[in-house]
């Protein structure tokens, strides 16, 4: 059985899914690929929007998400963030 993902890992996974198809991914696809429950997914997406990691794009074909510079920075520096947080006990 796989180990339970922590908050930083879940955020990384969601951002990575969006990064993979930047600007063209729909909420249902993110939900499917991030492997989260509906409720948890909504919570994380709201937090990521609020904190400026992703932006919502609305068009005729529906809603899509893309990463902001902050989102890209997070995925690039993820390993450092995890190492710093785990060694200094900063997990939430």
């Amino acid at each position: 059985m796989s180990k339970k993902r922590d908050r930083l890992q879940i955020i990384f996974d969601i951002l990575n899914v969006i990064k993979g198809k930047n600007g063209k991914i729909k909420p249902t696809n993110v939900l499917y690929k991030s492997n989260l429950s509906n409720q948890m997914f909504s919570g994380y997406m709201n937090e990521l929007l609020q904190k400026g990691f992703i932006v919502e794009n609305k068009s005729k074909s529906g809603k899509t998400y893309s990463l902001t510079q902050k989102g890209f920075d997070y995925t690039n520096k993820y390993r450092m963030i995890v190492d710093f947080s785990s060694s200094f006990g900063l997990g939430e």
């Binding site: 904190k51 902050k70 997070y74 390993r79 963030i81 190492d83 710093f84 785990s86 200094f88 006990g89």
Partner: protein, 219 residues
């Protein structure tokens, strides 16, 4: 207020060590705030703020000890001696308040609660005990030691959770900080404890710096 006994030969070295602690805690605090900016983690912000406060406390202490290591010029007026003494007392108070606020912020971070009222109560209770006590320096070291016992337990649990070397280094570092502060409790009686406290803190901050360097280098 009683003061710590500083051995003659150690005057100047203490300020140098405190300046080193200032730089290390400043680096760790700044890096924690960088992690907060990247991740949006609330705990990184609290951790960063706590280390920056501790850093400011060491800067004040270092400047004070540098100044104290120089003998006053001959023919110095009484007025300037009184002014120097007042400034020194203010610096000691500033160091204690900044350090205590930093430690309380760190302890609050480990509680993982979101309640500013609880933080304010916790901090005001600690500062009130510190500032209203008859022997402020003694109480400062005792209260700091109590907070460090709690923080060290938190880092022990953090290590046992994942058993990572980096978490072990941080736990051992906080243990050294605790032992250092316990030594300072007795520094009003004997100068050896003052020196011992500084050396133990030096080991602690070296370990914290080692961990930071490992994180930055991705080891």
């Amino acid at each position: 207020m009683e003061y710590a006994i500083v051995p003659h030969w150690f005057a100047g070295y203490n300020a140098l060590l405190e300046m080193t602690f200032f730089v290390i805690t400043l680096l760790v605090g700044a890096y924690a705030l960088k992690v907060h900016r990247l991740s949006g983690q609330r705990q990184s912000r609290l951790f960063g703020i706590s280390f920056l406060l501790i850093s400011a406390a060491y800067l004040v202490q270092s400047i004070l000890n540098f100044a104290a290591s120089y003998p006053m010029a001959e023919g110095c007026s009484m007025q300037s001696m009184v002014a120097f003494h007042s400034l020194g007392t203010f610096a000691v108070y500033a160091h204690m308040v900044l350090f205590m606020t930093g430690l309380v912020t760190l302890a609050y971070m480990t509680l993982k609660i979101r309640d500013f009222g609880a933080y304010a109560l916790f901090l005001s209770a600690m500062l009130a005990v510190l500032l209203l006590s008859a022997n402020k320096l003694y109480f400062f070291y005792v209260l700091s030691s109590i907070l460090l016992v709690y923080v060290s337990f938190y880092y022990l649990r953090n290590y046992l959770k994942g058993r990572k070397m980096s978490a072990l280094i941080v736990f051992v570092a906080f243990l050294f900080l605790l032992f250092g502060k316990i030594h300072f409790i007795f520094s009003t009686d004997h100068g050896a404890f003052y020196v011992g406290g500084h050396l133990l803190e030096f080991v602690a901050y070296t370990l914290i710096l080692t961990n930071l360097v490992n994180v930055v280098r991705g080891k």
